[in-house]
């Protein structure tokens, strides 16, 4: 069966009935972004590899619970991987109170590759980074702390010395703007 030609949803349906070849194809498509995200968040190759293993094991065990209407396979897998990485981050720093020193980690743009490398990135990544760049700095800041560093909003409020309500509002606005910025643009007239 030409697995490479199947949609991700089709592959997951085959994984659900125990087809390992379909699993190999899903791995080939998604291992790289999952590993990259985990490595970026955890700064440890070993920990990132564990996240990849846990994510694909979860897929193998729970493929039948995937519902297309709840989102794409990619988003589903990235959510699983992200939650695994956040759990690990939070477990590793349990008991340690966020301090003001951590603010040095949240300079705008933290967590994103050097913009100078943009030319070498693929178009989609470039599009994402452009979308991020459109966000005000304080919104980039809360997104970075929440998504890439796994801080709860209460912790972010303490870290930034801002009221909890302000942090919540910034986060919601950031996500709203990000969605708008990343929404696929309609095909241009005359585009091939």
């Amino acid at each position: 069966m030409p697995y490479a030609e199947l949609t991700a949803e089709g592959l997951v349906a085959l994984v659900a009935i125990g087809q390992k070849e379909a699993m190999e194809e899903v791995y080939a498509r998604y291992a790289r972004p999952i590993y990259s995200l985990a490595l970026h968040m955890l700064h440890s190759r070993e920990a990132a590899e564990e996240v990849v293993q846990d994510t694909f094991l979860a897929l193998w065990q729970k493929a039948s619970s995937y519902r297309q209407e709840r989102g794409s396979v990619g988003a589903w897998l990235m959510t699983i991987a992200h939650h695994r990485a956040v759990d690990r981050l939070r477990r590793d720093r349990r008991g340690r109170v966020p301090s003001g020193d951590l603010l040095s980690l949240v300079e705008p743009g933290l967590g994103f590759p050097d913009p100078a490398q943009a030319a070498t990135q693929n178009e989609e990544r470039h599009h994402v980074r452009q979308g991020l760049a459109k966000l005000p700095e304080e919104q980039q800041e809360v997104l970075t702390l929440a998504y890439f560093l796994g801080y709860s909003q209460r912790e972010i409020a303490r870290l930034l010395n801002q009221p909890l309500g302000t942090v919540k509002t910034r986060t919601r606005l950031a996500l709203k703007r990000l969605r708008e910025a990343l929404r696929p643009s309609p095909p241009k007239e005359g585009a091939s």
Binding site: M23, V52, W60, R70, H82, A146, Y147, G150, L182
Partner: protein, 265 residues
């Protein structure tokens, strides 16, 4: 949980930083509320794209093999014939008496070893059967308890569900509102290794969490536990199950796998 509350909690839910109780509450709301589900879907898609903004790094090639190896069923007992029987027949039939004697000796040794092993196996099997019999008696007792709960018209059933991303586990907690005990039954849970346990929690209306026991899950994914409480069951607002380290936790810290709102007041 109300619509507005969920909208408020969705970002943290999708960031994976929400507390366990709220995480479960949002998860259950999403199962029933299509507009919130759509909102969550859109945010999750945007976050998945956001994750691509990081520098892309290839995982080590050997990782694929390790991942796929973990998907294999447990290795079978028989991977081929034991060594002596893999001696090529051409060697046995080569004609020299000494080789035949050696071969016969090996066969005799094998037969003698096999008989000894068989005897040990039978003895162990008898022991296992006795232990199995005790387990069946206990299971029968559990089933009687269950039938009593199901047949009792005063017993209320509280459904328990898994968070959407976690899948297919289901459960039901059966208890009388004024009573101080109930039975929790769950299906579709993965059996845990020695390093973990399913721990049951009851949540009081003041938000405090009460340890309610451990759910032992068998190879089929079935688990059942009788829960006794110090106050009437109706005084709790929720029940849920999380994965905790072996021996359990004092406070819930692990991944939630099942939960439900009691609502018996």
């Amino acid at each position: 949980m109300r619509h507005a509350q969920v909208e408020h909690l969705l970002p943290e839910y999708l960031h994976g930083t929400l507390g366990l109780w709220h995480r479960l509450s949002v998860a259950f709301h999403l199962k029933r509320c299509a507009p919130c589900r759509e909102e969550a879907r859109q945010i999750a898609e945007a976050l998945a794209l956001l994750s691509q903004a990081v520098e892309q790094v290839d995982p080590p090639p050997a990782l694929a093999q390790r991942v796929l190896a973990r998907l294999e069923p447990p290795p079978g007992a028989l991977r081929g014939l034991p060594f002596p029987l893999r001696i090529p027949t051409t060697w046995l039939l080569s004609g020299t008496m000494s080789k035949i004697i050696v071969a016969l000796g090996l066969v005799i040794l094998l037969v003698a070893g096999g008989m000894t092993a068989w005897g040990m196996y039978l003895s162990k099997r008898m022991g296992n059967l006795e232990a199995g019999n005790r387990e069946i008696q206990e299971a029968l007792q559990d089933q009687r308890q269950l039938v009593y709960q199901v047949a009792n018209p005063e017993v209320k059933e509280i459904p328990l569900e898994a968070p959407p991303e976690d899948g297919q586990a289901r459960g039901v907690f059966m208890a009388q509102p004024e009573g101080r005990w109930g039975t929790l039954v769950a299906i579709g849970l993965m059996p845990l290794g020695a390093e973990g346990t399913y721990q049951v929690w009851l949540v009081a209306f003041d938000g405090s969490h009460w340890r309610a026991g451990f759910l032992l899950v068998d190879d089929t994914g079935w688990g059942q536990v009788d829960i006794r409480t110090e106050i009437p069951v109706k005084e709790f607002r929720a029940i849920w199950v999380s994965v905790e380290p072996a021996g359990g936790s004092r406070y819930p810290r692990g991944r939630p796998v099942l939960g439900g709102e009691i609502q018996l007041r």
